[in-house]
Symmetry: C2
C-alpha cells in the first residue's frame, strides 16, 4: 500500500486528542450513524425509545470509529465497514445495557440510568434485541470470518463480565486476575473491532493480527485509565462521576495496588468499604487519599502507558500516514485523559 506522506505529517508530534481521527472518519461515521438509527427501529416503540436513550445520546462511538479507521488504514475502499461498525456499536450498547442491570442487592444503592427509567427487564430485552440486530448486520455483510471474530468476542466479553462478578468485592484480587477480566470484558471488543478492518480489506494475516494487538492493548489502556478516572476525574470536564466504582465495591487496579501497598489498618479499611460495603461519609475521600499516598493512581496510568506502547508498536507493520497517525493519537488520547 503506497501512501504519500508529507514530511510535515510524518514529523508532527503525537496529539493527545481525537481531532485527526474524527476528521478521518467523519464521512464514514455519518453513514454508520444513519445505519445505527435505521437498524435500531422496531414496530415495538419501546425498543427505539430505550435504545435511543443510550445510542442517540451519542457517546464517543470510539469502537465503530476504530473499525472505520482500521479499514482505512488497510486501504479498504468499499462500504462494508459501515455495517460492521454499526454491528460493533450494537454489541457494545447491548453490553452496556446488560451491565447496568442491577442485582437485588444493588437496588439499595444507586440505580443505573436506563434501568432507573424503564426497569431491569426492558433493558435486558432491548440489549438482546441490539445483540440480535448486530448479528443480522453481520449476516447481511456475509463474511463468516467476521462473524467468527465477533461471535467469539461476544462470548469472551460475557466471560469477562462474569469473572468480574465473581471477583467483585474481593479486595485481595490479584493484578493478574484483574487484567484477565479487563482483557475479556473490554479489550476483546476493541481487538475485534480493529481486526475486522483488515479482514474486509483482505490484508495478510500479519496485518490482521497487528490490528488485533493494537486494539487489545488499546482496550486495556482504555479500561485502566477509566478505572483511575473513577477516583480522580475532573467531574465537570469529563462528565464522569467520581466514586461509582467505590460505591459498588468494584475491585480495580487502583484499589488492588492501594490494598497491596497498605498496612493492616488500611487493609481493614478496604475490606470494610469494598467487601462488606459498610461505607460512611468521608470514606471515598479517605480512599482517594490512600491511593494518592501509595501512588496507586499514578501507577495505574504508568501501567496504561506500558500497554499504550505495545499498541503503538503493533502498528509498526503499517506504512506511515494519516490513518496510522490518527490511530496512534487514540492511544495518547486515552492515556492523557487520565490526568
Amino acid at each position: 500500500m503506497a501512501v504519500v506522506v508529507s514530511l510535515e505529517e510524518r514529523n508532527r508530534p503525537a496529539r493527545a486528542d481525537l481531532s485527526d481521527l474524527l476528521a478521518l472518519t467523519a464521512e464514514d461515521m455519518a453513514a454508520v450513524n444513519t445505519l445505527i438509527l435505521a437498524r435500531m427501529q422496531s414496530p415495538v416503540a419501546l425498543i427505539p425509545q430505550l435504545a435511543g436513550h443510550l445510542i442517540a445520546a451519542g457517546g464517543k462511538r470510539l469502537r465503530p470509529m476504530l473499525t472505520v479507521a482500521s479499514a482505512r488504514l488497510c486501504g479498504y475502499q468499499g462500504a462494508r465497514h459501515h455495517r460492521l461498525a454499526a454491528a460493533v456499536e450494537f454489541i457494545h450498547t447491548a453490553t452496556l445495557l446488560h451491565d447496568d442491570v442491577v442485582d437485588e442487592s444493588d437496588l439499595r444503592r444507586g440505580l443505573a440510568t436506563a434501568n432507573a427509567v424503564w426497569g431491569n427487564k426492558p433493558s435486558v430485552l432491548v440489549g438482546d434485541f441490539l445483540f440480535a440486530r448486530a448479528f443480522e448486520l453481520m449476516v447481511a455483510d456475509g463474511s463468516l470470518r467476521v462473524l467468527d471474530i465477533l461471535s467469539r468476542a461476544s462470548a469472551v466479553i460475557t466471560e469477562g463480565e462474569v469473572m468480574q462478578l465473581v471477583t467483585a468485592n474481593d479486595v485481595a484480587t490479584s493484578e493478574g486476575a484483574y487484567l484477565e477480566v479487563i482483557k475479556s470484558k473490554t479489550a476483546a471488543l476493541f481487538a475485534a473491532a480493529c481486526r475486522i478492518g483488515a479482514v474486509i480489506a483482505d490484508r495478510p494475516r500479519a496485518e490482521e493480527e497487528a490490528l488485533d494487538e493494537y486494539g487489545r492493548n488499546l482496550g486495556i489502556v482504555y479500561q485502566l485509565v477509566d478505572d483511575a478516572l473513577d477516583y480522580s476525574a475532573d467531574q465537570a470536564k469529563l462528565g464522569k462521576t467520581v466514586g461509582d466504582d467505590f460505591k459498588e465495591g468494584k475491585i480495580t487496579l487502583p484499589t488492588i495496588l492501594a490494598y497491596l501497598r497498605g498496612d493492616e489498618e488500611e487493609r481493614a479499611f478496604w475490606r470494610r468499604t469494598l467487601e462488606e460495603l459498610h461505607q460512611e461519609p468521608g470514606d471515598l475521600e479517605r480512599a482517594i487519599q490512600l491511593m494518592r499516598r501509595h501512588g496507586a493512581l499514578e501507577d495505574t496510568i504508568l501501567r496504561a502507558r506500558h500497554y499504550g506502547a505495545m499498541a503503538r508498536d503493533a502498528l509498526g507493520v503499517f506504512a506511515e500516514g494519516r490513518e496510522k497517525r490518527a490511530l496512534v493519537d487514540v492511544v495518547d488520547f486515552c492515556i492523557e485523559r487520565g490526568h
Copy 2:
C-alpha cells in the same frame, strides 16, 4: 423423496404422546446433548454452573428435537443438525434466563429460579454467553442462510418479549395483540428451528416454508395451551405451578376472553387483580371460576386446535412416513396436554 410406508403405519391413529418422536430422534439427541454440555463449558466456573442449572436439568428439549426431526423428514443424512439443534437450544435457554430477570417491582413477589439463587446479573450475563455460543455454533456450521434465519428469529423473539412487557397488566389487550406477542416470543423460534432442517437438507423453498409454517403454528399451539395450563394444570402430573401468570398480572388468552365475556363487576375484578395487582386470598380461585363460567379455558384450547390443524396441514407437502407421523404427534401432544 421416496419413502416406503407400511399400511399399518399409515393407518395408525395419531398419538398424543412423543414416543415416536423420542424414538426417532434418540440417537441424534444424544449427540446434541453431548454438544450442549461441551459448548456450555467455560474456564469461568459460574457459567457452566448457572447454565447447567437450566440446561442439564433437561426439560423436554422440544425445539432442538424439532430441528432434528425436520432434518430427518427432509431426508438429511449428515451431522450438521446436531450443532444447529444445540444452537437452537442455547437461544431458547438464553431467552429463558433473560425472561426470568425480575424488575424492581417484581422483587416484592416471587423470584424466578436461577435468579433466586444467583441474582439478576449472572442470569443476564450467562444468557448472553449462551446466545454468543449459539452464534459460534452457527458460524462453525458456516451457512449464512441458517445464520440469517436464526438471527432474524432472535430479534423477533426480543420484540415479542418487549411487546408483552408493554401490554402487561392491560386487561383490555385484544386477542390480536396477544397473538402478535406469542407469534414473536414463542412461535418464531419454533418456526426457525423447523425451517433450518429443510435448509441443511437443501430442499426446495416450498418445503422450507412448509416447515416454517408447521413450526410457527405449533409454537402458537404450544403457547396457547401453556397459558391455559397456568389456570388448569394438574400440578402433580405436569410439574407446572398453577397461578404464576395470575400472580404476575400476565395477560393471556384465558384472561382476555374472561374479561371480554364478563360483566362490569367481573371486569372490575380483573382490573383490580391483574392491573393494580391487588390480590387477596381466594382471588386465583375466583379467576379460575370466572374462566370456567365463560368457557375461557376450553375456548383457548379450541383456538389451539385451529392452529394445530394448520400445523398438520402444512406438512401436506411431505410424503407419509415415520418422520411425518412423529411431527403430527407433536401437535396432538401439545393440544392434549391441555386437558
